[in-house]
Structures are given as C-alpha cells and as structure tokens.
C-alpha cells in the first residue's frame, strides 16, 4: 500500500520541522518527504489541507485492563480508543490481575495485542513478584518476552533493601526501572493533597513530602546502583525541583506527568468529584504551575494519559471509596494542544513531550517523521471542537475529570506501519 499525504502541515518535533508539505509512504515506512520518490504511484491520497501531520503519539502509561479486569475494559475497546486518540505506541503498567510478573503472561498479552494492525504495545514487567515488593521477578526472562522496563505500577515498594537490590539487579543488565514516587506510610489512607481542599472537605490527606521523601530515596539509590530510573507521575513543585537537580547532577533520570496533573489541581475536586480521585493526588495550583513549567523546559520529559478506565459504579461512591483513575487515551492530544495554546509553547516543542521524548525513554525509534522510519502517524484537524461526553469517548472508561469540557483538535487519521487504522470522515 502506497499512500501520499498531501499538503498537510508536517510537524516533526525530533527534527523541529514545522512546514506544509507532502509525505510518501510505502511498505509500511515513510519513504520521502516533500518530493515523491521516482515513479511513486500512490494507491491512496489523503488530502491533508488544513490538517496537521505528526508522528503517532507515544503514551507511556495506558492501562488496557487485561488480563484480569475485562469487566472494566477490554483490549479491543482500549486499543480502539488509542487509535481514535492518535496513539500509535503505548506502554502498559504491570498492575493487571495477575500482574505481569512471568513471561507467559507477557507473551499472551503481546500475542493478543499484536493480532492485527494496531497500536504497538510495550508492556512493563513487574519489578517484584505479584508486585508485593519482596522477591525480584525474572527480569531477564521478562525482557526476552517483550518487557521494555520494570515497574511496581502504583504498588509501594516499602522495603528499601529490596528496592536497592532490584535497582542493582536491573542495572546489571541495563534494564530501566520505572517508579512512582510515593512513600507508602505517609500516603497511608490518604485520598487528596494535604492542603486547603482536603481540610475543607475533611478528606484524609497525603502530604507533599510523601513524594519528595520517596524521590530522595530513589535518587540516592540511583547514585548507589547506577540504575536507569524513570519517575512516573510527578505531582509536586518540590518534586520537580528534585528532578531538575538530579538531571543537572547527571543522574540517569527521566520523568513524566499525567494530563490530569498538567491541567488540574486540588480545587477541581469541587464537591467531592470522584473523577478527581487519582494517584498521586491532584495538588495545589502552585504545584500545577511548577509541573507546567517543568514540562515546558524539559525537566519533565513526557506527558502521559495515565489511562485507567474505571467502571461507572466504582466512581459512584463517596470520594474516599471511589476507585482510582481517569480515562485519558483520547484526551492526550487535545490536552497537549490546550497546554501549548494557553502557555504559548511552540507546537513542535509541546508535541515532543508526547512523541519523540517518550520514544527515547522507551528506547525505540518511534515518534519521528523521517525517511526510513515506520509510518506511524497521526493527522488531526487543529480547529475542530468537540465536547468530552460518555458518547464521544470510545474507551469503555467514561471516567474523566474533563467530562463536559470542550476540546479543540480532533484526530482524523491514525496510521500504524503504513496502515490506516482509524479514519474519521468528519474530522
């Protein structure tokens, strides 16, 4: 299949290209930009006038809920949500049921996810058996089965001796370890940021030092072991400062934040909006501003959807009892655009945080538009407005704090390996 994407505004954050042009695809790869290869005869021409053509999004955190939680969502429904959202590569945390702690489970997931042309799935392996924080998993076997890194998801690793050994073992083979920094004791029982809103609403709270204490521990263990660590879901201003200092020190550290924490704060909880029940908690406006600044200046490398579909009933509960998580795959692009728009950030720089930068963390060559690269692409209409409603979301998870919000920017085409896997005639 040969495709000519004609007259679109092609933005490639990796090369900082931002210009209207043509793109030529053959045999699943980008073969040329601007000028067609000799004798190129496309089977299909996509008129991209008025549209923006970018590398397919790379999302470092999307829960597909398989195996184990198929009642919340299925691989099919969530992979479809990914394609509608323009996400062509995603990694999924190991907190499935059972957790991804043995090669057979990973192989089964990869097999299910690779059954047809669709978004590439890179599973994270469990760092410890059953994510219990006691015994290491067979990281080598899991790596061979397809795990690109190892993680505890949101499960705490309380025993610092185990954590240090896990990092040292992973470092032996240069496996990256992804950790969400939240000190389990300080976070115990908490459901909201320790601040004005938790005080007003009487919600058990999690202090900022739960994050900074865990981060300080992780950074010290990185110094000791040399492990490559990716920090998942940073939430606080002091956390950003610690990452900034660690990077200037030269530690092998990267970090991400979620779309929810980029745009929202504790105040969005309003009158107990359970859609804002998230881990880590939404923090103060000052924290949110620091996250925005950190993402803009590159202290924070990637923006992720932290997609977590939750059953409607599990959110129709008092805030404390509500299940954690928000749906996000279909909001990653428009919320990146919103951030760029509100803060006057060049689109190319903003889009880097959801394309080439996360691809670099995964250690893969995705997330760029260059001859020879796989034709994983996203075309969107930057002007099309739509409203987030249960009906407009394709994910089985209709749970998001952005329900009712107007969004600007809608994906019209998603291509994976040169196949058009999503096409929205109206966009």
């Amino acid at each position: 299949m040969k495709i000519h994407i004609a007259h679109g505004r092609i933005i490639d954050p990796a090369s900082q290209r931002d210009a209207i042009g043509n793109l030529y695809i053959a045999a699943g790869k980008i073969v040329a930009l601007d000028h067609p290869p000799a004798g190129f005869a496309p089977n299909r021409v996509i008129d991209a006038r008025g549209k923006i053509v970018i590398p397919g999004l790379v999302d470092l955190a999307a829960r597909l809920r398989e195996p184990g939680y198929e009642y919340l969502a299925t691989l099919e429904s969530e992979m479809y949500a990914a394609t509608v959202g323009g996400v062509t590569t995603l990694s999924c945390p190991p907190d499935t049921d059972p957790p991804l702690d043995e090669p057979g489970l990973v192989e089964m997931l990869k097999h299910r996810a690779h059954g047809r042309e669709q978004t590439h799935v890179y599973p994270l392996g469990a760092l410890t058996e059953q994510l219990q924080g006691k015994r290491l998993t067979e990281m080598g076997e899991l790596h061979d089965a397809g795990c690109i890194a190892f993680s505890q998801a949101n499960e705490p690793l309380i025993d610092t001796q185990v954590l240090m050994r896990a990092l040292a073992y992973a470092a032996t083979f240069n496996f990256p370890v992804w950790l969400q920094p939240q000190e389990a004791h300080l976070a115990r029982g908490g459901v909201a940021h320790d601040g004005e809103v938790s005080t007003r609403l009487g919600l058990p709270s999690i202090p900022t030092c739960a994050e900074t204490l865990a981060l300080t521990t992780i950074l010290q263990l990185v110094r000791e072991t040399g492990a490559r660590v990716h920090i998942c879901r940073l939430s606080s201003a002091p956390g950003v400062a610690l990452i900034r200092a660690a990077k200037s020190e030269g530690l092998p550290i990267t970090a991400d934040i979620s779309i929810n924490h980029l745009h929202l704060s504790e105040h969005d909880i309003g009158f107990f909006n359970a859609h804002c029940r998230l881990v880590p908690p939404l923090r103060s406006l000052r924290d949110r501003d620091a996250l925005q600044q950190g993402l803009a200046d590159g202290t924070i490398d990637a923006l992720v959807s932290d997609h977590s579909p939750v059953d409607a009933d599990a959110k129709q509960l008092p805030f404390e009892a509500a299940e954690v998580g928000a749906s996000g795959l279909e909001l990653l692009l428009p919320l990146t655009l919103r951030w760029a728009h509100h803060h006057n950030i060049p689109l190319s720089r903003a889009l880097a945080r959801v394309t080439c930068d996360p691809a670099r963390i995964l250690g893969i060559s995705a997330g760029q538009i260059t001859p020879g690269a796989p034709a994983d692409l996203c075309l969107f209409d930057p002007d099309q407005e739509w409203v987030v409603t249960p009906a407009t979301l394709k994910s089985q998870g209709k749970n998001t704090p952005f329900l009712g919000h107007p969004m600007q920017g809608k994906v019209s085409h998603t291509l994976v390996d040169g196949y058009i896997i999503h096409e929205d005639a109206r966009a």
Partner: protein, 322 residues
C-alpha cells in the same frame, strides 16, 4: 459552581454543609427554631409541618443521640419516621450506597437524614435522588455536621444574643472533626470576628487558617478573653498512638479544667457536641459547672432540626400549630 444544596431561587433544597450558605439562611433557620422551641413547652408537642411526609433516618454509622433528636424533631412535625441502621444490613450484603438509596426512594421517601463514615456521602446521595427528595447531612466522615453547628449557633445566640462581638475558641481534635469544620463555617458566616482553634499540631488539618481561624497550640493563650469555649470529642482510637501519647497527657495540655477556664471571660459559656469523655477533654467540674450549657445544646438541637426540616419542605414558612 452551582451550589448543590440551593435551588436556582436560592432556597435551601438540601442541608449538606454550612459552607457557602448565605448568612440570611442561617438566621432564617435560627429564627424559625425560636418558634419551634416554644412547641416543646406546649402541652401537645406537635405541629403539622411534615404531616403525611416520610422521613428516613439513614444511618450508615452508629449514632444514638443525633438519630434520636432527628426522630423526635420529625415526629413533632407529624412526619412518619423510619429508622434504618444500614450499617448492619444492606451494606454488609454488598449493596451499594446508591442502590440502597434508590430502594428507599422507591418507597416514596420525602426526606433522607443521612449519616455516613465517609466525607461526601451526603453530597453523593443529594446529587443522585429525584427532585422531590430532600437530604439532610447528619454527619459525613470528617467533612460536615451542619445541624450540630446550627444548634451550636442557636445556643451561642441564646446566651450571647449577638455574634459580631464574640471571641470563640474550638478546642481539641480539629483534624478529624466534622463538627469543628461546620462550626468554623457557621461562625465566620455569622461574622464572629475571632474564631480560634486550639490543639496539638498532630490534630490540626493543614492550612486550617485558610478557613478564617487563628491557630493556638497553647490552650491558656488560646482561651484568653474568649466568650465561648467549644470542646471537641476525642475519639478513643486517637488517644494512644502516633497522634497522641496518652489520654493523661492530652488532658494535661488540652483538657478543660476549672483553672484553665479562668483565662476565658468570666461569663464565658462552655459547649460540647457530645458524647463527652470526662477526664479526657473536659473535667467533670466544668462539664457540670455553672458555665456549662451542654445539656441546653441537646434541647435546642430538637428545635433547630425541626426548623431545618420544615424549611426544606416549605421555604416560606408560617407556623401552623395543632
């Protein structure tokens, strides 16, 4: 943001929290309660305000006093009262909170009086029920206990007449107290110029001063010159652990003794939402002393709850005695 307990016309539809209620509604309730206070002294202690209405006392958390006073209040208004101790039945069978509510609503409930161990439960129920059902929050987690705060305001007004010249101190476990949060909102809404909270740092919620209070850790300093002392109950499970070393040490620093009370104004009143822990947060000589108005609070509680219930059903009231 639309306030979930007010109608578009600004009338009270539910009573979920004091926060955000305009002072004229608080005064309307307090004024109305004065009239109901008189009902208690009639030979037949009944009115017709809720005749034909069904009030469901929906208690997901055990309570004797609050449930009883709501029951008495509803019965004096001629409502049919159904008491449900839900903690012991549906919830343990796995029925969700809203399923329970739906089932009761299907029995033509007009009003739910809800107590729940989790903050926000009453808001959740109020956002879920049909337009003809009123919800009264009888205590949700650490969040709010608005009728308690209203009866406390009634008590303060009864003894001090005005709010604009008062200093009020709230002493004890503010962190876990829904009563304290509702009292703070009520006092600041009624323009009490100085509201103080007194307690150890382990029992103070973060940024509590943003609610408009001054924080004291030294009880004697905090009691200096106050007109009203409100003691909070200290739950048993907080007494020995990481929040406090022991009940004796708590009493030493934060228990209200006759000596400590001398630092307040000579005519200061002492209040407690009950049930009291004598010898933990309050000395018996104070609890039973001249300045204590604790039992009056209980009496006033019935009139205040009658006022709230009748205003929810009829926001433009006139008295209709038997």
């Amino acid at each position: 943001m639309h306030h979930p307990q007010l109608t578009p016309e600004g009338h009270l539809k539910h009573l979920l929290t004091i926060e955000g209620l305009p002072s004229h509604i608080l005064f309307q309730i307090l004024d109305h309660a004065v009239e109901f206070e008189a009902v208690a002294h009639q030979e037949i202690k009944k009115t017709h305000h809720l005749k034909g209405k069904s009030v469901f006392n929906l208690f997901f958390e055990p309570s004797t006093r609050t449930r009883t006073t709501f029951e008495i209040a509803a019965k004096r208004l001629s409502a049919d009262v159904i008491n449900l101790n839900v903690g012991a039945s549906s919830q343990s069978k796995g029925e969700t909170l809203l399923d329970t509510v739906d089932n009761l609503a299907a029995m033509q409930a007009d009003m739910f009086v809800v107590r729940h161990a989790e903050s926000g439960a009453a808001h959740l129920i109020a956002s879920h029920v049909g337009p003809d059902i009123h919800v009264i929050n009888a205590g949700d987690g650490r969040h709010a206990h608005p009728t308690q705060a209203l009866l406390d305001m009634y008590t303060i007004r009864h003894f001090k007449q005005r709010f604009e010249n008062l200093k009020v101190a709230i002493v004890g476990d503010v962190l876990h107290s829904r009563v304290a949060r509702s009292q703070i909102h009520a006092l600041t809404t009624l323009k009490v110029p100085e509201v103080r909270v007194i307690g150890p740092k382990t029992l103070m919620p973060s940024q509590v001063e943003r609610l408009g209070v001054r924080v004291y850790h030294d009880m004697i300093q905090g009691l200096k010159g106050v007109d009203v002392v409100i003691m909070l109950r200290l739950q048993n499970e907080r007494m020995n652990g990481a929040l406090l070393p022991s009940r004796d040490e708590y009493f030493k620093y934060y228990g209200l003794t006759p000596m400590k009370l001398t630092h307040a104004k000579p005519d200061a009143i002492v209040m407690h939402p009950g049930p009291m822990n004598r010898g933990v947060e309050i000395h018996s000589d104070v609890a039973d002393g001249m300045q204590s108005v604790i039992l009056k609070q209980v009496t006033f509680g019935i009139a205040v709850r009658m006022a709230v219930m009748s205003l929810l059903v009829n926001p433009n009231p006139g008295m209709r005695p038997v």
